[in-house]
Subunit: 193 residues, 2 copies
């Protein structure tokens, strides 16, 4: 890979064009490497965490959630935005608990995912969680519709049919499949199956 | 999965809060299933296509592109936004040509990817392209920095180290790995390796 430095788009000017509760939208004028000028519109996002809750026996926990922007109920891995001052790991623990009522004994950070680099700086971190225990936490039914334990092979099938279409969830399922089948990857990420 | 109908968030009111060249940002007031009210801020996106250019011998073509929102040069599958009136397939053909100078003999639509369902309706379609031929097209160096043919096993390794972090690219690499290893999946998607 070549060095970023020579290819950077330099910021000439910038303004915040929308400040919402969720979205902070910016419009910058930039100079391209060729000297040409252009505009970049993008969102500043606090980051988020997504977790693979491993239930044992090749099963993971997915949740059903209605997503207004796509007007659809989506089958997803538990995930959520970082609250001010929170770490990726703390976010992951909180979201796992809020969305599934589960607490994990083992939590492993896997890898970063940039969700939509064309117009957002959102950076997600993917975690593995196992040694899961149920609590008596009541799931917020305004957010989560149902819990769906699913076999990895069935989850892969739902990716192939397009029924699972959420990007972070597809990434997490493929990762889980690799981890479950590859002892070297388990060792590398310090995961005991 | 339960029916969407009972869990839909109903739109009460809505306004467009930013109309840019790239981003169309909306803020809707919604009624949650519980009767509570809330706001949803989101982006309307025209959709996009992403392509796995299969070079043969377990190699795919990635491109290096500087991405302003994340202020980084990213290693990605060729991809791009739908132009007005364009189909997903036509977008994929155009972007493959513009970003790599390649033309494909075989093009197969694989599956949909919603990139960031928390705040965008963006829907990407993933394609497989093979039977690739070089043309004398000059790559736009304001957009693409370099072409990077890479072995699937090396691409997987870059996912595990976090060096490949672009969501759509991670999904495409995992898909390519599955297709290359699974004859049944090749038959199912009518792909000849």
């Amino acid at each position: 890979m070549q060095k970023d430095q020579n290819f950077k788009e330099k910021k000439i000017a910038g303004e915040k064009v929308f400040s919402g509760q969720l979205l902070q939208v910016y419009k910058d004028e930039v100079e391209l490497p060729s000297g040409k000028k252009s505009f970049r519109e993008f969102i500043k996002h606090p980051g988020a965490s997504v977790v693979i809750p491993y239930l044992g026996n090749n099963q993971i926990m997915l949740v059903n959630q209605f997503r207004y922007p796509v007007n659809k109920t989506m089958l997803e891995l538990p995930a959520g935005k970082i609250d001010p001052g929170e770490s990726y790991k703390a976010t992951m623990i909180r979201e796992l608990f809020e969305e599934t009522g589960l607490k994990a004994e083992t939590m492993i950070q896997l890898a970063p995912i940039h969700t939509c680099i064309g117009y957002s700086n959102e950076l997600l971190y993917l975690f593995w969680a196992s040694g899961l225990e149920k609590t008596d936490h009541n799931i917020d039914t305004d957010e989560i519709i149902s819990l769906n334990p699913i076999d990895i092979s069935d989850a892969l099938e739902l990716i192939y049919t397009g029924e699972i279409s959420d990007g972070k969830t597809i990434v997490g399922i493929f990762w889980a499949d690799k981890i479950l089948k590859d002892k070297k990857l388990q060792l590398r990420f310090n995961i005991n199956i």
